[in-house]
């Protein structure tokens, strides 16, 4: 047993030392695998980044109420009376006598994207005073908060970076109304940063929405209060709501696009991996044939076929691993943190997010690389082990 292991190690080490002689086909195998891992990581990091932005927006302590059956805030509608019912419902956190609440409404406006200079749909949200309190980690980073009753806007940090004309201190015109941008806010990198906020009353009047809202956000007394709130509102005949945590809501919103990216990304990766397996097979067969004499000599000297087989598998797997690391590193260096924005169906507006090349993506990429290496090496390894020794020696 020990001798067998020694044999395997000796042959494997010899094989790896000789690798530089087969540089050409080895490089081909490495790059083939690197390309697969690179594309895999790049495409799926879009999904991850998008999810992260959407989901990090959602707080477990905040409940969002929209009209039942709405697929998003945009398609929901709540009256002022219904907002007051929510404010008084059990389970809602109170600050003194006041509920921590923000009833909101948003419209979609056209702003130009900086990179392409084309129009994009950006969410313009009207909020109440409690907007910062019902969300987590929202702070003003520049300028100040807007004053109620005035045509003033604060812009989200990502929106400011991605779209033109949103600098603090400037004025922007939507339709027939001018708005002053008085500040910038950050929201922990979440989707809220892709938005423009103003006083909900001003927005309602500018867009002739009377006294209607689309959603209400409330801070829960405790994370267990959701059910209390939900039951109370469901039972009230004056309101027909969907009640969920903000986190749940945003997960639902993110689902469509991120599923779409995954539906494209995973099959794409599988197809590319199959191509990479063909490439690896090619390289390994060529490697085995180049090593023909060396293998025959080793066999004649008494090394068993198993050691030959394992040494070939190790070569193949090692090359694939190097490719996987190379592809992953490149994906990380090039794509991680790269900011893009895209249209999110349900909200009908832009979401700004970063590519997120996360650790688990890189690990998945390495798994893929290992699988490619194993498949690419198996058949050639078997051929190497079964090489007819006498014939190979005769050709010396």
């Amino acid at each position: 047993m020990m001798r067998g292991l020694q044999q395997v190690l000796a042959v494997t080490w010899l094989n790896l030392r000789n690798l530089p002689q087969r540089v050409g086909s080895s490089i081909v195998a490495v790059i083939g695998v690197a390309a697969v891992v690179l594309v895999f990581a790049a495409v799926l990091s879009m999904a991850k980044g998008f999810e992260r932005t959407m989901i990090s927006a959602g707080s477990e302590d905040t409940a969002i109420i929209v009209r039942s059956g709405s697929t998003s805030e945009l398609t929901s509608g709540l009256s002022n009376e219904q907002v007051l019912i929510v404010a008084d419902a059990p389970g809602v956190l109170k600050d003194g006598d006041d509920s921590v609440i923000s009833a909101e409404l948003y419209v979609v406006v056209d702003v130009k994207k900086k990179t392409s200079n084309t129009d994009a749909n950006v969410p313009f949200r009207g909020v109440q005073a409690g907007a910062f309190d019902v969300r987590k980690d929202v702070t003003i980073t520049e300028g100040r908060m807007f004053e109620a009753g005035k045509n003033e806007i604060v812009v989200g940090r990502s929106a400011q970076q991605e779209f033109a004309g949103l600098d603090t201190g400037s004025t922007i015109r939507f339709g027939q109304t001018d708005w002053n941008i008085v500040g910038t806010f950050a929201a922990g990198g979440s989707v809220s940063e892709s938005e423009l906020w103003t006083d909900v009353r001003i927005l309602q009047s500018a867009y002739r929405r009377g006294n209607s809202f689309q959603s209400v956000r409330v801070k829960l007394q405790s994370s267990g209060s959701l059910n209390v709130l939900k039951t109370a509102l469901d039972e009230d005949p004056r309101i027909d709501p969907d009640v969920m945590t903000e986190k749940e809501y945003y997960s639902g919103q993110a689902e469509g696009l991120s599923k779409f990216i995954k539906i494209i990304g995973y099959p794409l990766t599988i197809l590319m991996s199959i191509g990479a397996v063909f490439g690896a097979l090619n390289s390994m067969y060529s490697s085995v044939s180049v090593r023909g004499k060396e293998i025959a000599t080793l066999r004649a000297l008494g090394f068993g076929p198993t050691s030959i087989l394992i040494s070939t598998m190790v070569e193949s797997t090692l090359l694939a691993l190097i490719g996987g690391l190379l592809g992953g590193a490149t994906a990380y260096l090039v794509f991680n943190g790269f900011q893009v924005s895209t249209l999110n169906g349900p909200s009908f507006s832009q979401v700004v997010f970063d590519f997120a090349v996360t650790g688990d993506l890189l690990v998945d990429g390495l798994y893929a690389a290992l699988i490619i290496g194993a498949f690419g090496g198996l058949l050639p390894a078997i051929r190497a082990a079964r090489l007819p020794v006498a014939q190979a020696l005769r050709e010396l």
Binding site: G24, S25, I27, V28, I31, G32, A35, L38, V39, A42, V43, G69, S70, T71, L74, T75, S76, G77, V107, V108, V109, D110, K113, S116, T118, D119, A120, N121, F174, G175, Q176, Y207, R208, G256, F260, I264, L268, L271, M272, I274, G275, A276, F278, G279, L281, N282, S283, Y285, S286, V340, S341, T342, L343, F348, Q350
Partner: protein
């Protein structure tokens, strides 16, 4: 091509190697076909957009509604041949994830405007006569297995009915299709009159107008005239060509075309490496044979041509198979995705580009080995053997 046998036999020198290379090419071009088709869908039907149709929306926000009263004023504007309207209903069938376009329209003028939609005369008539009637595109009918005569309930998310309910029921009176395989028929159309009567709010409004420019009139000028007409009114308009309108959406998806190009770039780069390696090995193995060809009187250029043709042949074999399978898959994929990404299509332009790339890749992969073969010195090559 009397050299074909020589080229073919040489290509298959090492059967396994050639087969694996062809399979790599096959995968690359299968990917190319699929990504091209999806990329095409993201262009949002820009290619099918009718050059003489204009879309009129509210200037401030796409989701704002326009007054119905604009209809006659638009119709009487100079340069306008015909007008119709539509609105976004935004409901779903049975489950929230079953979303697709539903528009309340004026049946006759809508089908007149969208002449690429084909519907049997009697079905259109039945639709017109039935206030609660509806027609759907064949893609939608196929997806949900609907037949004419079915009663279809649609859940409204925005449009509650005046009676408080949110389920709108329609009688399926017809199924329409589109001429153009690139376009999509993922739509449901029902009667605006019913919509107007039964909805709880926003009466007297529509989502957008579509007009056809009169022959010989300049679309841009007509657009400007219309917008001017409604400027400084409570509902200012933004009029653009159908193509520009479609593009305004696709551009919002960020640069899908760029991403697709980058992915394909990585794929083809790898492919060139694999094939280039195969070709150079193949040439290296038969230096003495190539030298013999030269002694027989094959001149340098012919030898170059023979090697290069071999490389191109391998690319064509794998590539045509890949494009072929890709085309078949796209047909099925388009149907699957019709509801949420319409217009998945492998265009003739993409196919031509693919074939061009096969030849280009064949040349690139084979050029260095071919030059080596061309330039080899007969004497040195034979002496080495």
């Amino acid at each position: 091509m009397k050299y074909f046998r020589l080229i073919w036999k040489n290509a298959w020198r090492k059967k396994v190697r050639t087969l694996l290379t062809i399979l790599s090419v096959f995968v690359a071009f299968l990917l190319f076909a699929l990504l091209s088709a999806i990329g095409f869908a993201f262009r949002g039907g820009v290619d099918v957009a009718d050059a003489e149709r204009l879309i009129i929306i509210d200037k401030v926000s796409l989701i704002n509604l326009l007054p119905m009263s604009y209809m006659s004023r638009i119709a009487s504007t100079d340069g306008v041949e015909s007008v119709t309207h539509a609105s976004w209903f935004g409901g779903y069938y049975q489950e929230p994830r079953n979303q697709f376009g539903q528009f309340p329209v004026d049946p006759q003028s809508y089908f007149d405007m969208y002449s690429e939609f084909n519907i049997p005369e009697e079905q259109l008539e039945a639709f017109k006569q039935n206030r609660t009637g509806a027609v759907v595109g064949q893609d939608i009918a196929a997806t949900y297995g609907w037949k004419i005569g079915d009663r279809i309930p649609i859940q409204a998310t925005i449009w509650t009915k005046a009676d408080g309910g949110r389920t709108w029921e329609f009688d399926l009176e017809g199924i329409f299709s589109t001429d153009d395989p690139r376009g999509s028929s993922a739509l449901m159309l029902f009667q605006y009159d019913y919509f107007e009567e039964a909805r709880a709010f926003a009466k007297g409004t529509v989502g957008w107008y579509v007009l056809r420019v009169a022959k010989g009139a300049d679309p841009i000028r007509v657009a400007n005239t219309i917008d001017l007409q409604f400027s400084n009114s409570p509902n200012e308009t933004k009029t653009s060509t159908e193509a520009a309108f479609a593009q305004s959406f696709t551009k919002q998806f960020g640069n899908i075309a760029l991403i697709v190009t980058l992915i394909l770039g990585a794929v083809f780069f790898t492919l060139l490496l694999v094939s280039g390696n195969t070709m150079s090995q193949s040439v290296r193995e038969r230096i003495s044979e190539l030298a013999v060809l030269k002694t027989l009187g094959f001149n340098d250029r012919t030898v170059l041509g023979v090697v290069l043709s071999e490389s191109i042949l391998i690319m064509l074999l794998g590539g045509l198979l890949g494009l072929g399978l890709g085309w078949l898959v796209v047909q099925g994929l388009a149907k699957q995705m019709a509801a949420f990404l319409p217009g998945v299509f492998l265009s003739p332009g993409a196919i031509a580009a693919g074939i061009g790339m096969m030849i280009g890749a064949g040349i690139l992969a084979g050029i260095f080995p071919a030059l080596k073969a061309m330039r080899l010195s007969i004497i040195d090559a034979l002496a080495r053997a």
